[in-house]
Each structure stands twice: as structure tokens, then as C-alpha cells.
Amino acid sequence: MRLLLVEDEIDIQSFLRTSLEETGYEVEAAADGKTAERLAVDGVFDILIVDLGLPDQDGISLILKLRQLGVRAPVLILSARRSVDDRVRGLEQGGDDYLTKPFALAELVARLRNLLKRNSPAGSDATRLRVLDLELDLLRREATRAGQVLQLTPQEFVLLEYLCRNAGRVVTRSMILDQVWGMRIQPDTNVVDVHIYRLRGKVDGPGQQPLIRTLRGVGYVLKDR
């Protein structure tokens, strides 16, 4: 996976490059808009990370310019600003995502994976999801584990569906709040964790292999192998 990182803060650029390369991305970095433009046109990238506060131009103008130049790859926007620009919301609706600084690395990685998957055509309109012996019928809103029907509330079903769609990948608490409840908040209580505990109590019965794993300080993952 080739990734173009556009970030002018050298500190942030270097740790992002290191940790993204550890994750398996092939990273090219640019510290300003001009370099980014040249790199994006010359090479082919699967995904872009663009910081909004570039020294020579606004990050959003850069993204719009790259789109005009035919760059189709999804963009993860990084912003240290306080308010979310209307144009950022527009890009978000167009399939891109944004993350405010500071962020958890896991959050960044999870959102990148999410963007890449969203842009790949397969599997989005399936009516059934299958992860190991867990099966979700999206039409009947019914979940079964090893043939046993799970008694889930509608909200728990949506949460489990989100975990299944991201099976094998880390999802963070803010991603869950964003995608399942539709809000970008940072509660200083463990509201999401309690939902996950309850769901785990229903999905992982006694004697069964636990499917929902907690990654401390990071988030959750639904095991797919």
C-alpha cells in the first residue's frame, strides 16, 4: 500500500512515517503543498494523509487541486484547528475522513484501513456477514453464533455489525461512537466499554472461543481467525 503523507511538522512527520511503515505502508512524505502535488502526480498512491495547516497553501485547496489533477485515492485529513470547516464536512461526505490532532496512532491506522476498505468495491451490499462461526443476517437483523440465535437489542446488533464489517481490524472508541451512534464526543466515562462488555456477554458464551478482544488504551478487535 503506497501512502502519501503531507505534513509540515517534521516531528509529527517522522513518527508517523516510522509507525506507518511498521504497519506495512510504503510511505512518501512531503512537507509542503508544492512537493505533495509533484509527488501525487508522478506516483500512484492508494491513500493520502493531508494536514490542513501547510506552510504554502491550505490543505483543502491542495486536496481539491489533486482531485482536479485526477488523484482518486481517499484522503485522511489531519486538523489542529478548533472548528471543522464546512469544506471538510463536504469532503467527509465525499468519502474522505478527518481526524483532529492529537490522535491515537491506532485511531489513525484504523481510520486509514476503514477508508481503504470503503473505497474497495467488494462486499458492501452483502445481506449476510460471516466471521468464523458468527453469522449476521442483515435483512432479518438476526445474529447467530454456532447456530444459536443471539438475543441482541437493535443497538447491539448495529454495534456487532460494525465490528463484523471491520473483523480483524482495530476499532477505537471514538470510531464506534462516530459510526454506531453518529456523534464525535469524548465522554470521560466508560460508556462504550459497557456496551462492549454486554455484547461480549451475549456473543462469547461460556466455553466458546472469545471473539471480541480488548486492546488496552486502544480499542477493540473482532477476531477473524
Binding site: P102, M183, I185, V194
Partner: protein, 475 residues
């Protein structure tokens, strides 16, 4: 937001101004009319006195030249002629009987020697004797039995007797009455016309002022780009509009400055925070043992709290300056509360708390979605952190006095009485609170930025009660 309905006319400034202006105008014109009336009345009197003096001279001559026995008939003839024709201002349609002119002669001893006129003249003689009538000075005379007073002229003739000629003032009074009636009619018309003109012009001028006031009130907390309408004229009202607009320019520019400061502060703090957090996380993934990882994890958590504190501080600071930037969209509070309750319910019931919503159905406000989400999460977090087990939180959502009203009421221990008066200030927190004390200040900031209000009190039963109100979305 603002009451767009027109105020009743009777309470408008245009009405008051026109009323006072008309009053002054009416008094002025009335004075002019009184003066004119006096002038005309005096003139009529003077003319009629001149005529009376002339006639009494003529009758004096006639009385001297005519023998006593023939005098009466001659005088009757003369007086009848006077009464019918020569009296000034005479109303031609009046009755033929002569009650407008009388002739009276007294002997040297003051007894009545000759009388021509209506009645026997006794009352007239009595009235003449009661008042001093000097020759050549026509005098006002009120006679018993006659409703209308007379004007009487006298002269002394050769034999030492006096003759008096009296003319009723009826015709004079009638002329003046007609004049007054016309004056009053004209005066009323003038006053009405004046009132109409003054009312129309002030109303037109003040309607500009009202437009400016309405536009200025629409320029609310967040919409500082709009300006009040200006007119082409170069008058006080357009000066007012221009001054207001200049003031708005200055406010907008200082608001912009504040935003620049908070933005760059946020940016300058967030970038190093991002770098620190990233480096900590990288060392975390390399750290092998749990005992090494723990301090790093807790450092990251501290960092996240610091970030949250930074965000909320800046939000509260901006809101205190009425400068919080809002991205308003229609938002159904009822739906939002249900989602929030769904999110918080498991945590609440883990702690043995109950959450009850009493809502009268969908309730739309125009609000910044992200801020309202964070505000309600804040309120719920508060309850979750501070309530002891087996308490119930009642949420009530309804339309009250034209706004959306949301109250949270619990049956817990309530607010600390020392903290209660300062609840919405920054850095205020209860003794056992471990937050940074911005929670309720943030709630207050968000409510106020949306034109709403928040208040906190302890219920009679002892629990805490927080009441929020927001303006409803326009239709």
C-alpha cells in the same frame, strides 16, 4: 428571536410625536383664531356704535324740531324704518315685529315721556337709570325680559330732556356666532390635516429606524457578517445606520482577532501534543513488559485529558466572549436524547442508576450538532460520575413559553450548597469531583451561544436539578 409582529399603533413613537405636535399646532391656530375673533367683534361693535351715534343725533334733531303732539307718530315711523332697513348686519328673514330697536325720551326729572318699541318701556327705563349712560358713548345694556342685551346711545336735547336709542345686539351676536362656527370647522380640518401629515412623515422616518433595529437584533451571536440597511438620504437615521455598521465592523474584527488567537493557541499546543503522544505510543508498542508500559499508558491518558481540557477551555473562553462559532442545523432534541440515553443506559444501569425520559415528541432546534452532543454527554457524564447507586434521573423535554425546555432532575444528594452559586463558573467543582471543573461552564457556554439559558438548583426533595432552555427553530 425577535417579535416580528407590528406593535399596536397607539404604542408607537410616531403616534406620540404626532399627538404632541398636533397639540402644539392646535393651540397655536386656536390662539390666532381667538385674536381674529376679537378683532372682528371689536370692528363690528365700532361700526354699529358709529351708526347708533349718528342716528341718535338725527333723532335728537327730529325731536327738537317736531311739535310734541306729532312727535310720537313721527318717531314711530322713523324707528320702524330704522328697524326694518337701516340696522347694520340685519337678518332679512327675521320677523317683522320690531324688537330690535327702541326709542326712549325722558323728561328733565327722569320720567318716561316718550316710548317707541316693544312693550311699555318701563324695564328699559329702569335699566337705563340703573346704569350711567353718557351722551356720545354708546353703552352695553342688559334689560330685564329681553334675552339679548342692547347697545344704547343717548343725547341731550335743548329742553333738558334726554333721548335714548337702543339697538339689540342680536344681529351682531349672530354674525359672530356664524364666524365662530366657520372658524371651528376650519380649525378642526386644519388640525386633522396637520396630524395626518405629521403622523405619516414620522411614521415613515421611524419605520427606517425600526428596520435598523430589527436588522440589528437579527445580527446575533454568530452572524456578524450581516449589516443593517442604509438609506440614500443623508439624515440622522442613515447616520445611525452607518454608525451601527461601523461598530459591527469593529466587533467583527475583534471577534476575528479572538478567533485567530484561540486558533493559533490551539494549533501551537496541539502540534507538540500530537508529536509527544505519537512518540509515547511508539515507545509503548516497543515496550515489552507490563510494568514498563503502565507509566506510558497513564502518561498518554493524562495527555488526552489535557487535550480535552484545552478544547473545553477555549470553547468556554470563546463562549464567554459570545464568539463561539456555530454551524447551525435543524436538530431534533427528542431523537438526540433517545440516542444518548441508548448510549448511556448500560453504564447507568451498571451503576444502579435509572434514566427516564418524559418527552412530548419531536422538538426541533437550530443548533450546532457537535456542540450539543458534547453538552449532553457532559451532563450525562456528570450524573454518571456523581450520583450514588439506586438513584433515578428524570429527563423532561417540552415546549415551554415558546422555547425548548430540557430539565434533568435526580434524587441524589444534590449540589453542594457552597458550590451552587458558582456552578457555571470555570474551575468550580465539588469536593469529590476529579474532573477539571469545566463541565458545567461548558454546558452554560453552549446554551448561551445558542441563545439559551441554563440554571441549576436543588429540588425540594434534595436532588439536583439542571434546567436548560433553547429557542425553537423558526418555522
Amino acid at each position: 428571536m425577535s417579535s416580528r409582529t407590528a406593535k399596536p399603533i397607539l404604542h408607537s413613537a410616531a403616534w406620540r410625536i404626532s399627538l404632541w405636535a398636533t397639540l402644539a399646532f392646535a393651540c397655536g391656530t386656536l390662539l390666532v383664531f381667538v385674536f381674529l375673533h376679537r378683532f372682528v367683534a371689536d370692528d363690528i361693535q365700532r361700526r354699529s356704535d358709529a351708526w347708533l351715534s349718528g342716528e341718535v343725533e338725527v333723532l335728537g334733531d327730529v325731536a327738537e324740531q317736531t311739535p310734541m303732539n306729532a312727535l310720537h307718530d313721527r318717531l314711530v315711523e322713523e324707528v320702524a324704518e330704522l328697524a326694518s332697513k337701516e340696522v347694520p348686519n340685519r337678518d332679512a328673514s327675521a320677523s317683522a315685529s320690531n324688537d330690535s330697536v327702541f326709542f326712549l325720551q325722558t323728561g328733565g326729572d327722569g320720567s318716561l315721556t316718550l316710548w317707541v318699541g316693544a312693550g311699555n318701556g318701563a324695564a328699559n327705563l329702569k335699566a337705563i337709570q340703573a346704569s350711567k349712560i353718557l351722551p356720545d358713548h354708546p353703552t352695553h345694556l342688559r334689560v330685564q325680559g329681553f334675552a339679548i342685551p342692547f347697545r344704547v346711545a343717548s343725547t341731550r336735547i335743548g329742553d333738558g330732556s334726554y333721548i335714548y336709542l337702543g339697538l339689540s345686539e342680536r344681529d351682531e351676536l349672530r354674525v359672530l356666532r356664524n364666524l365662530r362656527a366657520r372658524f371651528i370647522l376650519l380649525w378642526l380640518l386644519l388640525v386633522l390635516l396637520g396630524f395626518g401629515i405629521v403622523f405619516y412623515t414620522t411614521r415613515r422616518m421611524l419605520s427606517h429606524v425600526r428596520e435598523i433595529a430589527e436588522a440589528a437584533s437579527r445580527i446575533g451571536h454568530s452572524d456578524l457578517h450581516a449589516r443593517v440597511p442604509t438609506t440614500r438620504h443623508n439624515d440622522e437615521v442613515s447616520h445611525l445606520a452607518l454608525t451601527l455598521n461601523r461598530m459591527l465592523d469593529r466587533i467583527e474584527s475583534s471577534m476575528h482577532q479572538l478567533h485567530t488567537i484561540t486558533d493559533s493557541l490551539a494549533h501551537d499546543l496541539r502540534s507538540p501534543l500530537t508529536a509527544i503522544r505519537g512518540k509515547l505510543e511508539m515507545s509503548l508498542s516497543a515496550a515489552m513488559q507490563v510494568e514498563h508500559a503502565d507509566p506510558i499508558v497513564s502518561a498518554i491518558e493524562e495527555l488526552d485529558r489535557l487535550t480535552d481540557f484545552l478544547n473545553k477551555s477555549l470553547d468556554v473562553a470563546e463562549a464567554k466572549a459570545d464568539a463561539l462559532r456555530l454551524n447551525r442545523v435543524p436538530l431534533d432534541l427528542d431523537e438526540l436524547l433517545r440516542i444518548m440515553i441508548d448510549l448511556y443506559e448500560p453504564s447507568m444501569s451498571e451503576k444502579g442508576l435509572q434514566l427516564r425520559l418524559h418527552s412530548s415528541g419531536p422538538l426541533i432546534i437550530e443548533a450546532d450538532e457537535a456542540l450539543i452532543h458534547r453538552m449532553i454527554a457532559n451532563l450525562f457524564d456528570n450524573e454518571l460520575k456523581h450520583l450514588p447507586a439506586s438513584c433515578t434521573v428524570h429527563l423532561r423535554l417540552m415546549v415551554e413559553s415558546g422555547g425548548a425546555s430540557l430539565t434533568l432532575e435526580d434524587d441524589g444528594p444534590g449540589f453542594d450548597s457552597e458550590v451552587l452559586p458558582h456552578l457555571f463558573e470555570r474551575r468550580v467543582r465539588g469536593k469529590e469531583s476529579n474532573g477539571h471543573g469545566l463541565g458545567l461552564a461548558f454546558v452554560d457556554a453552549v446554551a448561551r451561544a445558542h441563545g439559551g439559558q441554563v440554571s441549576a438548583a436543588n429540588c425540594e426533595s434534595g436532588g439536583a436539578r439542571i434546567a436548560l432552555s433553547f429557542p425553537l427553530a423558526a418555522e
